[in-house]
Symmetry: C2
Amino acid sequence: MAFILKSHKVGRYKEDIMAIRFSKVLENKKQSDLGCLLALTAQPNIISFAGGLPAPATFPIKELTEIAIKVREKDGSNAMQYGPARGYMGLRQAIADRMNSLYKNHGMKTVDAKSIMITSGSQQGLDITGRAFIDKDDVVLVESPSYLGALGAFAFEQPKFVEVPTDHEGMIPSELDKILAKTENAKFIYVIPNYQNPTGITWSLERRKAFMEVVNKYQIPVFEDNPYGDLRFEGEEIPPLKAFDTEDLVIYSGTFSKVLAPGMRIAWILASETIMKKFDEIKESTDLCTSCVGQREVAMYMNEYDFEGHIRENCKLYEHRRNVMWEAIQKYFPSDVKCQCPHGGLFLWVELPEHMNARKLFEVCIENEVAFVPGDAFFPASAKNNFFRLNFSYNDDELIIEGIKRIAKAMKEYK
Amino acid sequence: MAFILKSHKVGRYKEDIMAIRFSKVLENKKQSDLGCLLALTAQPNIISFAGGLPAPATFPIKELTEIAIKVREKDGSNAMQYGPARGYMGLRQAIADRMNSLYKNHGMKTVDAKSIMITSGSQQGLDITGRAFIDKDDVVLVESPSYLGALGAFAFEQPKFVEVPTDHEGMIPSELDKILAKTENAKFIYVIPNYQNPTGITWSLERRKAFMEVVNKYQIPVFEDNPYGDLRFEGEEIPPLKAFDTEDLVIYSGTFSKVLAPGMRIAWILASETIMKKFDEIKESTDLCTSCVGQREVAMYMNEYDFEGHIRENCKLYEHRRNVMWEAIQKYFPSDVKCQCPHGGLFLWVELPEHMNARKLFEVCIENEVAFVPGDAFFPASAKNNFFRLNFSYNDDELIIEGIKRIAKAMKEYK
């Protein structure tokens, strides 16, 4: 073969060319070292607070088995066939009904099932949104800090991330206004107003209203990611941004991953028809449709089982585990380590004294067989190194206490 | 609000700006009218040969119900939890085992389960591949004609499609060689060597070998899409291109959509580790992982049920329906309409006399309550208007015969 190659004057020689040339996006993409770091946390002896996994004890296996049988027996031919890109209408209707019962009293416009698209996990909604809006060097505005998985999905479209100053009540509207006034190519704002990932912060009602005034002023789309809203341990229900969305700018996303079962990969997006038509095109090209059988199972669970009761049980367990972690932190962490107690969700956010680096602490923690996610990756534009995220939903009481003790020990050993 | 807007000198006024600005790719994307056209085929009185749907009668509902119970009872906690981006090892192993038993005697290197990624339908594999390789204006080489869904997925990355001349034995290697010799930015070749969509053509063994020699000469990656390979009605098994892939250039894709159940959305990709590492990044960003419960169900079906026997049953049914359609075509279509009888798969490709336009015939067919897919959309670079695609897997004998009669009637009415 080599002889033939050298004896023929073809346009390119085998020797001249790179065997495989990936797209520029991939070639230029900064390879995050976080993956390698987190791979370390998967060792069996390590107590990991790094993931965002629900507790397997919450999965309603018995009910999901009954449902699996019923769906296959009653509607097997449709469940096993291709379905529409926007999703199974039975599930979209069940989601619309639930959103209406939760939020209509808070002033939200009636949700029409037709405006809902089922996605393969909320991650797919993030990916679709990035592809629909972002061109290279466009600006995406995010809370500071923001969710890693969203930043990662959007990064494929090569935007510039701008962190909008954020305090304990959420993104600061006056700061957002200032940034939007001077930013020409801002495409959308990505926010998690309930029990934010990674900070656990919930936006106040006033903050939400003020935020939406700025949004309406600039007519900029918003991606409202709400995976944790149902995991409320205390305080009143605060309506989503979507309830104040008079101009159809909010893309609202919810998921069954945190309150039912992530392994089913079922989530949804609610948006205006203008946006949804573009999303249809992308959804169809990326996976044709989400699991038709999975969609029917979730719909049946919502319609025929006690979903609200199930969510209340989840909340009880997670509230208890948050309390266990919070008390252990109070007891074992040094007093110069700051931490705010979240009112729901899955995460606790820890601030170290400024001289400490969470990556270095992570290394000491791994030696002590305990792990978390170092916080720097959650800040896409600034470089803050003295934060880390703890998950309190997955481990049981004993492991939580032991893990927090180990982190406290690592803090003492930190040089 | 309007008053405030006008009284403040903000950078942009509400009046000045478009409410929502999508990405340039989406804004520039030629909106295919095929969607609207095919929407017409969904009317209940229309006999549609337009889709590519398997026959629901082939779905092994009873077995899949038993499996659903067993998976949830035995392994519910893992089935309902998040899983690895590359997929559930049990399914990857079952796929590797089957590929080895089918193709090792044909000289294929032993497939390692680690080199397999599970995707949410083969459509996702196409999307991931497009994103991994294509930059705007790069060249993707395809058979002439080629599969619509692949062209649609790749189109999001804005490549130039080059149709490589193709005859009844497949893509013509000498023509491919000529094109590659003068094409600098060719990123990969997309082909369907078995029972191609839309033509039904199967590449000969000699053609496959000669094709791979050209591929190796230019060291260009190949996406070998093999959704229909198991649906062989007659002739010997011809090994896939992957069996001749001495330089790890072939990305092989298979799916359970045509031989088990498309509603589960489970397919796979087999590729070198260099390629797979890039695919991992994209897969994780697009949906984290494919349905963990669905993956376990398919694995159990492969391991504990008679998958090969099930495939044979599918083939019998589809061979019968192909025969019914083929005989009806011989009987009712005018003699100047050409058509080659496929040896497997789901589709028949029809060539009209050059003066006839398949879009116009489609309109007459809709009036006669029968539908197909006009062929022009399968030619991304050339403009051939006298072809159309018929699906023979979905409708029963009576509908097939009646539908072909109606098309024949429309051909007579065509002006």
